[in-house]
């Protein structure tokens, strides 16, 4: 198996390399790809949409339809992880671990034993793959998470003027919640950001995106043609700021969708669908 695999791979690689000799050089500014379509985007991004970052304009305006499906792919991944993994079993795990808060003692209670009360202030439940409780990690992450979220909002809002945008900001927002879940435990995170919230917010994010396009359709223009939003925003027709605001609105939708789906996938993957104990 190994020999055939190695041979296949070497032959494929050699063939591909041989035929790659006709391709344009690396860094060639006059290749067909660099001269046919992209100058139009670079020259017209400020004029059409008043957005300096041409990548954002192409992503959300010229090829905004593709991006809508990209966001749907993200939502599909969340749905698929939920669909495949989630189990609402009521069987209890073989052993539960509790920590006695004043003394730091660990208790292990076997199946069938008497568990401490749910809201006991003295005993907190810890995961079976337990790392020692660390004051430093918990409090450092508490500080970092707030700044990560602030930076994420900055990235979303500045997608027009610097590298950034909805996807990047959404991933940062999602990772802040995942950081909270890693430094504390999964149950505490679930209490603050329930799975239902994540699922519904993800769908709402993509709905914001396609809803913006649908509003354009209702106003008479083609789908996702943000110019049709000018009367709603109080701008003259043909004002590039209408496109700029349209792009911003879809970026917000993308950020919501990506954030919720990242958290949703983490919930399902880290606990293998049981939402009982996480990483």
């Amino acid at each position: 198996m190994k020999i055939t695999g190695l041979l296949t791979v070497i032959i494929c690689g050699a063939l591909l390399t041989y035929y790659a000799m006709d391709f344009p050089d690396f860094g060639d500014g006059r290749s067909p790809a660099n001269t046919y379509l992209s100058p139009h985007f670079l020259e017209n991004t400020m004029h059409d949409a008043h957005v300096p970052n041409s990548v954002t304009t192409i992503l959300a305006d010229y090829r905004g339809y593709d991006t809508m499906y990209e966001t749907t792919v993200v939502l599909t991944a969340g749905l698929a992880c939920f669909f495949l993994l989630r189990r609402k079993e009521s069987t209890s795990p073989p052993a539960r671990f509790f920590r006695h808060v004043p003394t730091g003692l660990t208790l292990r209670i076997e199946e069938g034993g008497k568990l401490p009360a749910e809201n006991s202030k003295v005993f907190t439940r810890i995961d079976s793959l337990w790392a020692p409780d660390s004051l430093i990690i918990r409090n450092t992450c508490r500080l970092i998470i707030a700044f990560v979220q602030l930076f994420a909002l900055y990235v979303v809002a500045h997608g027009h003027y610097s590298p950034g945008g909805g996807f990047q900001g959404g991933v940062l927002l999602g990772s802040s919640i995942i950081l909270f879940s890693i430094s504390n435990d999964l149950r505490r995170t679930l209490k603050r950001f329930r799975e239902k919230t994540a699922a519904v917010l993800g769908a709402i994010g993509v709905l914001i995106y396609s809803g913006t396009g649908f509003v354009c359709l209702l106003m008479g223009a083609h789908f996702l043609n943000y110019e049709a939003l000018s009367p709603l925003l109080g701008l003259k027709t043909g004002d590039p700021m209408a496109r700029s605001h349209g792009i911003f609105s879809v970026e917000i939708g993308v950020a919501f969708a990506v954030m919720s789906v990242m958290i949703w996938i983490y919930y399902n993957l880290s606990s293998a669908g049981k939402h009982d104990e996480g990483l």
Binding site: G5, V9, L16, F26, A33, L42, N268, A272
Partner: protein
């Protein structure tokens, strides 16, 4: 022969992407652990992203964020090509989504068979079929 080496020197980005793609393909074909196959798939998809992004580069030019002056004329030749970057944003997202679904399926398989080695799973299935 010499021609090929000089050509490869000028087009080393294609050689890089081909090597990466073959590494990923080899991992997917040869390895028997499911997680290693998933990692190979991820490397395979990343190589294609590398290919697209490397075709967008123009030597000595800057990132495609034009100056914030609505009336200045923009010379497209001063900026690198933005279109492949946009296409690859989509491809990266798709690759992450595929990774998520693949890991969920691998987790389900682990829950069912207790192992992630494909050879052990096939042995398991063969013994089951032998019994029934």
């Amino acid at each position: 022969m010499e021609q090929i080496f000089t050509a490869m020197g000028a087009k080393y980005n294609y050689v890089a992407y081909i090597i990466l793609m073959m590494v990923g393909l080899y991992a997917m074909i040869v390895k028997s652990n499911l997680v290693k196959k998933i990692i190979g798939m991820s490397i395979f998809q990343t190589s294609i992203i590398l290919f697209y992004v490397s075709t967008a580069y123009k030597t000595g030019k800057t990132i495609p964020i034009v100056p914030y002056d609505a009336h200045a004329a923009v010379q497209a030749a001063d900026f690198i090509n933005p279109l492949p970057h946009v296409l690859m944003l989509t491809a990266i997202v798709v690759s992450v989504a595929t990774l998520g679904v693949a890991l969920a399926l691998a987790m389900k398989i682990y829950r069912q068979y207790g192992t992630l080695e494909e050879d052990d799973i096939h042995e398991d299935l063969r013994s089951e079929e032998g019994k029934s």
